[in-house]
């Protein structure tokens, strides 16, 4: 293969990895918001918790920083999911019994605090410099960029597929049916003996664990994390993916992840080409405006997204 082709293929593979990781976080958000109707405005915070947990457990020790236990990657990833789930459970336990917007405000607060800890608690998180030399799977293949990129993509794709299939099973199960029942009519569900609070907490926790998984995947594919990776814009993008792709539909989520990432990268390349270097910051801001408008326009004109939630009553009924 010629050099140009391998370059493009490696780029495509790393783009695919980015799409899938955000897709995993978005699958978590879909379980929370799409299936259960729970606002989470702090997605970036939960992803960061996962990323830092796994990075601390698996990376080599560094002077003046906690962690560095060089544990196997699998343990790091599992711990990241546990941490994401645990933080979600704590926030959920505190706010789910209150008015719905309290959860949104509390998750927003979590994201602010996680960002603050990431920036300031240098002894734990490496501060603004972040954590580098996080072990990557297939590190041995790093000499051959294309093979490395493809192997990483294959692994992340397998994890995403696993998460997707698991969620599809969950959503179709009686458990998933109860979630939708609570979302549609809490009182009716309660009258059938289902504890809304308990089911909401479960869904919120599992969703948070998936965001933790996304964070761990990000840490172990990039090999480097810093507070910049978990800015509020990440939450915003994941929400845009969910809303554009189709709230309540896991396939829609992955489609949305692909489309929003593609749009993001394409506008990035376009503005890089069209604007002089001193105007780049302004152009980058315009991209966020564009995504904001896209999000609002979708909510207004196509609230179901591209692939809406499948009608659960009967396939013979139109919605």
């Amino acid at each position: 293969m010629s050099g140009a082709w391998t370059g493009w293929l490696a780029y495509a593979a790393s783009f695919g990895v980015m799409v899938l990781i955000q897709g995993v976080a978005c699958l978590g958000l879909n379980l929370q918001w799409g299936q259960t109707g729970l606002f989470n405005v702090g997605v970036a915070g939960f992803v960061a918790v996962g990323a830092y947990t796994s990075a601390l457990l698996t990376s080599a020790a560094v002077d003046g920083r906690l962690g560095g236990y060089e544990l196997p990657l699998v343990i790091g990833v599992v711990a990241a999911m546990a941490a994401g789930g645990l933080v979600s459970a704590a926030v959920g336990a505190l706010t789910l019994r209150l008015r719905s917007d309290y959860l949104a405000i509390a998750t927003f607060g979590i994201a602010v605090v996680v960002d603050l800890v990431a920036r300031n608690a240098a002894g734990l998180t490496g501060g603004t410099l972040g954590i580098s030399f996080i072990p990557r799977p297939f590190e041995a293949l790093a000499e051959r960029p294309l093979t490395f990129a493809l192997a990483t993509f294959a692994l992340v794709a397998a994890v995403t597929l696993l998460a997707y299939l698991l969620l599809e099973r969950l959503v179709a199960s009686p458990w998933g049916r109860v979630l939708r029942a609570i979302r549609e009519d809490e009182r009716a569900a309660a009258s059938l003996g289902k504890s809304a609070a308990s089911y909401r907490l479960q869904a919120f926790t599992v969703g948070g664990a998936l965001m933790g998984l996304a964070g761990a995947l990000q840490a172990h594919t990039l090999g480097f994390i810093s507070p910049e990776n978990f800015a509020a814009a990440v939450t915003f993008q994941v929400w845009a993916m969910l809303v554009v792709g189709g709230t309540g539909n896991n396939r829609g989520v992955l489609l949305g992840a692909l489309l929003v990432s593609a749009l993001w990268s394409a506008t990035g390349l376009a503005t890089a080409a069209a604007f002089p270097p001193e105007e780049q910051a302004r152009a980058a801001a315009l991209r966020i405006v564009a995504i904001g408008v896209l999000l609002s326009a979708t909510i207004l004109w196509r609230p179901r997204g591209l692939l809406g939630e499948r009608t659960a009553v009967s396939r013979h009924l139109d919605d």
Binding site: L98, A104, F108, S296
Partner: protein, 302 residues
């Protein structure tokens, strides 16, 4: 012990109080947490600055300051116009987006929509003005000595005075006027209010106008005391939510007192723990209130 941090907390709290009043009114009358409210502060601050610049170039000289303050009547006038314009911006966004969501009965997505609006509004400021901090005035101010070794600049005292004035005005407006009574009725039960002839749409317009205008004044105050940046309002969003919840959602006096509580708590943290943890204070207060008394000081139910 030097009690200066209390004075600083009061000044920040005054700004927060104005912002939190808008948050709590929107929440009570429209029933959603508006994540774009912080952007109204920023837009108010930038609009004032732009208007002052325009007025300065029309007059051929920058707007003069009135001693001992670092700004003059000119900027005050610009701030008033900016407050009206920011109220108008809130109305415009409602007409384009939130009203349609309400009419469709999908008000639950309003929170998400407001999050999108907030990102877009902030990024638009960054595109228009860049992220470079700006100042209304480059003048240095000498802080005047007050009691107990506390000091405050004339600007800080002016901000506190304006806040007390506006807080009294808003409290009287909500408590004693016809539109205030209608607002309380809509907050209580929109359908019932409509049945007895309250124009709910007009109440909602008044809510946006008032919330936006107060946010703009808070933005100008913040810009005057600190600096004007596109992210200035967004950074105050969590403290404003915390203030509204501490005071009890829907309660205007609650939001005012909540703002002062959050401001003083922040200043205390900065004084005794470190400035870098300032932003965590609101979250800690928020969690404490949710644990102990979710309805807040003056709220009824959560």
């Amino acid at each position: 012990m030097n009690l200066q941090f209390l004075m600083d907390g009061l000044v920040v709290g005054a700004t927060l109080a104005l912002g939190a009043t808008g948050v709590t009114l929107t929440y009570a009358n429209l029933r959603f947490a508006n994540f774009a409210h912080g952007e109204f502060l920023s837009w108010g601050a930038y609009l004032s600055m732009t208007l002052a610049g325009l007025a300065g170039s029309l007059l051929g000289a920058p707007l003069a300051a009135r001693e001992p303050f670092s700004i003059g009547v000119g900027l005050l006038g610009c701030a008033l116009v900016a407050a009206a314009l920011t109220g108008g911006l809130a109305l415009l966004i409602d007409a384009v987006l939130f009203r349609r969501l309400r009419e469709r009965g999908t008000a639950v997505t309003a929170v998400m929509a407001s999050f999108g609006v907030s990102m877009a509004l902030r990024a638009l400021l960054e595109a228009l003005y860049t992220t470079r901090p700006r100042y209304y005035s480059q003048e240095l101010q000498i802080a005047l000595p007050l009691a107990e070794g506390m000091r405050a600049t004339p600007d800080q005292l002016a901000v506190c005075a304006v806040t007390v004035l506006l807080a009294t005005g808003v409290t009287l407006l909500i408590g004693r006027t016809a539109i205030g009574r209608r607002m309380r009725a809509v907050a209580e039960n929109p359908s019932l209010a409509a049945v007895v002839g309250v124009d709910v749409a007009a109440v909602i317009r008044a809510t946006w106008l008032l919330g936006g205008a107060l946010a703009a004044v808070a933005g100008v105050a913040l810009g005057l005391l600190v600096q004007v940046r596109p992210s200035m309002g967004a950074e105050l969003l969590l403290p404003m939510f915390a203030a509204a919840i501490v005071g009890g959602i829907g309660s205007v006096p609650g939001a005012l007192i909540g703002g002062v509580i959050v401001g003083v708590a922040e200043a205390t943290t900065v004084r005794f723990i470190g400035a870098e943890w300032r932003a965590a204070v609101s979250f800690a207060l928020l969690i404490a209130v949710l644990l102990v008394r979710p309805s807040g000081l003056f709220g009824r139910r959560a």
